[in-house]
């Protein structure tokens, strides 16, 4: 642990504010892209809405940076680093919601905040109204939010604005990034961005070509391609039209989106390994094996549960496998309407897809949920315990698994994974209970609770502007803690309590 001199004058709080200010200013800079889009399409009112948002970001950033300007050379403690992340995500979402709210496409500021938090946490649950008539600038902002959130707000700042700062590892870890590709955290952050930008160019190009081939005009093929890429790669599930992925009526478009969902849910470190020629890692990696196993089993069981619902194998692939993949990767792209989950899918299929939503993708990816690596760790721990039971008392059983390197299965690893899984289950139960308490059927409440907590975005019909405000607030909280994997949020409350106690 670093030796810090944080007791006097709330230096640590000032440093948290300083780093928060830096990150908020970076988000403001990204928002300029949306403003330029509005300018290009002469959407004047939306342009002014976005300018208000950018101005707010810059002014609030300035205040925070000014307060903490002398703490630039300080190092974070773990608690402060994680608190800074949780604070940045909450404030970032609050300010980002201003332009969408001013656009008139939301019934209330709470709805706009819900949508923005859904975007940042790459959930994809939406409360926007009349999306089909939304300005281009608003759609651009909604999807950029997904990109920032998917990569990580703080990670973005680390990559571009934090040269020379210290103690950034804690902030990096606070965004639910469990591992580094390189010992230097800024180097890791830049690699993550390089991988993302490579896929951004490739993915948008493929979707644009596909869009033209299915009958879209070139400009809209490009924008819809870009937005669908951002929604798919960031496993957010936002789409520019109210029909989500159904808008395109194209199997090829859906297959490209499925590919993006899979790519988005894979660990950034693994992407880097494969892109640099280490293909074997893709086969040996325990996390990939775990992901492949659970996706296959759940999709197969889902297809069995829904036999007879769809007329042929291809229809079943587009409606069953697509949604199990969308759920498991935490994306939330949909090719059926929310009502169809409720009225066409049976209870077994709903339970299976709820499990898929909670299971989630890889650690150090844009996906949410419990994560495949933790499931692999628990599965290995179970196997290890069974081996211990079978073998003689004198035998020493050492279980290892391969994830980027050979890892020995220590109790600490198992304990950490178990705590996170336990917190997910408790929060999921709380969300389900809240849904049923507010009058929704059990299976619908389970589905939506898993979707919010697992940062998925599929909806069974609960999430709409008319839902109770209390449930909106609960889902916002669930999306937030689900994306940051609890610890940062717990650290923020503990940190604020400590600061208040010290006066």
């Amino acid at each position: 642990m670093y030796n810090t001199k944080f007791k006097e004058g709330h230096i640590e709080l000032k440093h948290v504010l300083y780093m928060t200010g830096k990150t908020l200013s970076a988000i403001g800079i990204v928002e300029i892209v949306a403003a330029i889009t509005s300018l290009l399409y002469r959407e004047w009112n939306m342009l002014f809405n976005l300018m208000i948002g950018i101005g707010l970001f810059f002014i609030i950033s300035f205040i925070f940076i000014f307060i903490g300007r002398d703490t630039k050379e300080e190092r974070f403690s773990w608690g402060a680093g994680m608190s800074m992340v949780a604070l940045t995500w909450a404030l970032g979402a609050l300010i980002s919601a201003v332009p969408p709210y001013l656009s008139g496409h939301f019934a209330s500021y709470l709805d706009a905040f819900f949508e923005v938090m859904s975007g940042y946490t790459t959930t994809g649950l939406v409360l926007i109204q009349d999306l089909d008539h939304a300005p281009m600038g608003l759609n651009m902002w909604r999807h950029l939010i997904c990109y920032i959130g998917g990569q990580g707000m703080v990670l973005m700042t680390l990559s571009f604005l934090s040269s020379g700062m210290r103690g950034l590892l804690k902030a990096y870890m606070g965004e639910a990034r469990d591992e580094q590709i390189f010992p230097n955290v800024m180097h890791t952050a830049r690699i993550i961005w390089s991988v993302s930008i490579l896929y951004l160019v490739l993915g948008t190009f493929v979707l644009t070509i596909n869009g033209v081939l299915i009958g879209l005009p070139l400009d809209m093929a490009f924008f819809r391609g870009l937005w669908m890429f951002l929604g798919g790669w960031d496993t957010a599930g936002f789409a520019p039209q109210s029909q989500n992925a159904m808008y395109f009526h194209s199997l090829s478009y859906e297959i490209v989106c499925m590919t993006l969902m899979i790519l988005g849910t894979i660990n950034f470190a693994l992407h880097y390994f494969i892109l640099t020629g280490n293909y074997k890692e893709g086969i040996r990696n325990a996390e990939i094996k775990s992901l492949f196993t659970t996706v296959t089993i759940l999709s197969f069981l889902g297809a069995v549960a829904l036999r007879g619902i769809y007329p042929n194998g291809l229809a079943s692939f587009r409606k069953t496998f697509y949604h199990f993949l969308s759920a498991h990767t935490g994306t939330g792209f949909a090719t059926i309407y929310p009502q169809q989950f409720l009225y066409e899918w049976n209870d077994t299929a709903i339970i299976l897809i709820t499990i898929a939503m909670l299971a989630g993708g890889s650690v150090c990816s844009t996906a949410g949920g419990i994560k495949a690596l933790r499931i692999a760790i628990l599965a290995n721990a179970l196997v290890n315990d069974i081996k211990k039971m079978i073998k003689p008392d004198s035998a020493v059983v050492v279980e290892k698994f391969h994830h980027l390197k050979e890892i020995t299965l220590h109790d600490k690893l198992v304990r950490n994974a178990s705590i996170i899984i336990l917190l997910y289950i408790v929060t999921f139960s709380f969300g389900t209970l809240a849904g049923t308490f507010l009058g929704y059927p059990l299976k619908a409440a389970m589905f939506e609770s898993a979707s919010a907590l697992g940062n998925v975005g599929l909806s069974i019909g609960i999430t709409q502007p008319s839902m109770p405000d209390a449930l909106k607030i609960i889902y916002i909280f669930m999306m937030w803690v689900g994306r940051l994997e609890f610890m940062s949020v717990i650290a923020l409350f503990a940190f604020l309590f400590k600061e208040a106690k010290e006066g």
């Binding site: 959407e43 208000i52 002014i59 089909d132 939304a134």
Partner: protein, 163 residues
Amino acid sequence: MMPRKILLLTILIFVNLICLFYYAFAKPVDSTTLLNNSFKYDGKTVEFQGEAIGEVMKRGKYAWVNIHDGQNAIGVFMKYEDAKKIKYLGRYRVKGDTILVKGTFFRSCKVHSGETDIHALDVQILERGYKLQEKIDMKKALFAIMLFSAGSILIWFVFKNKW
């Protein structure tokens, strides 16, 4: 033979009257009813009315047009000849043409590998869409320019001082 002809004529008139009443009083079904009762309406001929949105996506001699009835948008598969009748498609600042489609609803269409869609038999333009003029809110514009300028200066100050 005469009574037989009269009987046939009476039946014909009766059938025509039923059809007339059916078309005069039949209301287009809304998307929520269709989707909430998708098994019931599957394969049935329905009338669906709403605003054409987005883009016409041409596929050979046919095209996909998404029609939004205020609750949900449903994809309608129609002849490209019919799609060409649509002049305005709903998007920002454009109110799309209001379309009445008579066609077959499919909960999970075999032809289109599982799509929930309507295959149009007849397409009518009920109301032509239009372009909307954007009214600029001058107070908001002034406030936005001031806030943006102030924020930009302050952030420039941060960069200049390397804070």
